[in-house]
Point group: C2
Chain length 376, copies 2
Amino acid sequence: MDAFKFELIKEDKHTGARLGKFTTPHGVIETPIFMPVGTAATVKSLLPQTLNEIGTQILLSNTYHLYLRPGSDIVRQAGGLHKFMHWDKPILTDSGGFQVFSLSGMRKITDEGVTFRSHIDGSKHLFTPEKVMDIQGELGSDIVMAFDECSEFGYDHKKAQNAMYRTLNWLDRCFNHFYQNNDTQKQTLFPIIQGNFYEDLRIESAKKTASYAKNGIAVGGLSVGEDKEIFIKMLDVLQPYYPDFMPRYLMGVGSPDYIIEGVMRGIDMFDCVLPTRIARNGTALTSKGKVVVRNSQYKADFTPLDEQCDCYCCKNFTKAYLRHLVNSGEILAAQLLSIHNVYFLLKLAEDIRNAIKNDCLLEFKKEFYGNYYKIR
Amino acid sequence: MDAFKFELIKEDKHTGARLGKFTTPHGVIETPIFMPVGTAATVKSLLPQTLNEIGTQILLSNTYHLYLRPGSDIVRQAGGLHKFMHWDKPILTDSGGFQVFSLSGMRKITDEGVTFRSHIDGSKHLFTPEKVMDIQGELGSDIVMAFDECSEFGYDHKKAQNAMYRTLNWLDRCFNHFYQNNDTQKQTLFPIIQGNFYEDLRIESAKKTASYAKNGIAVGGLSVGEDKEIFIKMLDVLQPYYPDFMPRYLMGVGSPDYIIEGVMRGIDMFDCVLPTRIARNGTALTSKGKVVVRNSQYKADFTPLDEQCDCYCCKNFTKAYLRHLVNSGEILAAQLLSIHNVYFLLKLAEDIRNAIKNDCLLEFKKEFYGNYYKIR
């Protein structure tokens, strides 16, 4: 029996949206889905118990961070990442590609791999495709990401093409190493489409990457600073080239409007640090747009963050209280706003799934957008 | 019917320990009890839901902090502190006396009251006994503390006597103002015994303070830097002078051994920031003593903080994981260690109550101490 299985329940008549069920060794994921990010084996400020209560189905963690601290050997000795962080639902681990490329000035890329210095202690390390598969094997995540070269917005065609080819070459090495060494009853490998913002490169990458995709495929390098129109155009370009019977994961995308645009173009999985990061800065995502809780207008506002929200924060606390916590630098502010923000995106994914089910995704989108830009 | 009632269930035959039930408008408190501190209307890093899960019966908040931020008027408009912070069990508010006296160089004490500058914005304020009663009236706490002058360890007899007399004078004003203006169906006033470390002053203060005590009495100004022997001696001196049929609250004491010594000398209620403060510094209280989680000896220690503990942290996480969180500066470290540390003191109070019930407090103390100093 296959450890991984994707069931395509329904395709939307009016858009590219899909309703699906993705079975993994640690449980079933309903798609489209948002995945909260637990970079260092913790979704910042949220207990696993709380993640369960707000309906988290899968979460993300990070190869680069865990390799450096506590060390993937420690995680392996702990019995794997699920046990280490007390999370028994599915986990996807990013390959660290994006992180090592973000270490400007501290890394060197060759065909062999990437040499980089730790942001923690400056120590020198080498990531190769093979090593990154081994590390994720030690972590024991359900979904392993290929090691890719993330090219920046603004690369010329030649540079973008080189990065795309290198990513394909590395993918071939990831694939061979993974299927020889990792336990495919416990893990699956998602390859990543790159190609910067060039249509021809994206299409070539999509076609060639598809042949390495067994249980899922990812799109990397979007939502990295480009205009929304370019983002949407790239998704339009890619849409015909995905394999059908597996989930498609759009990496690093988590703003509500981008999720909706992605779903309409055939994307099933999303992740982003956005909800927890802006929570720690005192900002909430609501059905009427972003609320900057610190603003003095909320000083004596005894209504919840979002009247329509059923989360623990909105059911029990007022904007005046949250503002007080933010102003006082209290940890509880980050906790309550993170609960709300992550719940908000999980609820959005649920609403999207229901809209697909009920053939009303376009109406849902119109209504959501109508409200969402009210307080911007 | 009285809104407050203290039922003395049992007095220990071998020590001064008492088992009691203290009824307040927001519920019944079993004594001896430890009260977690929520200085700024939040027990740092703990959701009210979590406080309930670990068995919190009453918590403490602070007049000085809430008066300055968000302002007691905001709390009043919110419907009082219980509603503001979503805590429907009893709340005790400290008077702010200790806080304003800790603002060295920023405050001036006269018979009228204390003029001080805000630690937040430097603005000038005056606390009088009457004003402090009014503020606590706005906060709506169940237990209101009198405004006292906290004398420091090292004061000479004359200075300590002056502070003690001023505290008595202020208590008289607190008492008159409270019983004329506050709602005694919702709040009660605890007077505070002072007198520094002079036996005669402590005894005089205890005798005179007792006549203002209707539903409870407090001991202030101990555990402020003196040796443990002096702390214990002062409790021995005071023990004969408390009114019997009301709870006695020893302010600012929360280390396990001090709680046990206090209980044996007739104390019923304790509070301290210790469990949450040391949690944020990465230290845990355990049945074998303090564990400094950051220590490298725990790098690959896959056992819980405390094998004997039933809290969410000990049931689900290892020292290796907690060490990783502390080292990574993750908020979850403070959350999990705060859960454990507060649970540890609440469980200690429960164990003490059971020991009194079963006539084995001295045996309990011996066993607890035998273990507690193991890893010091």
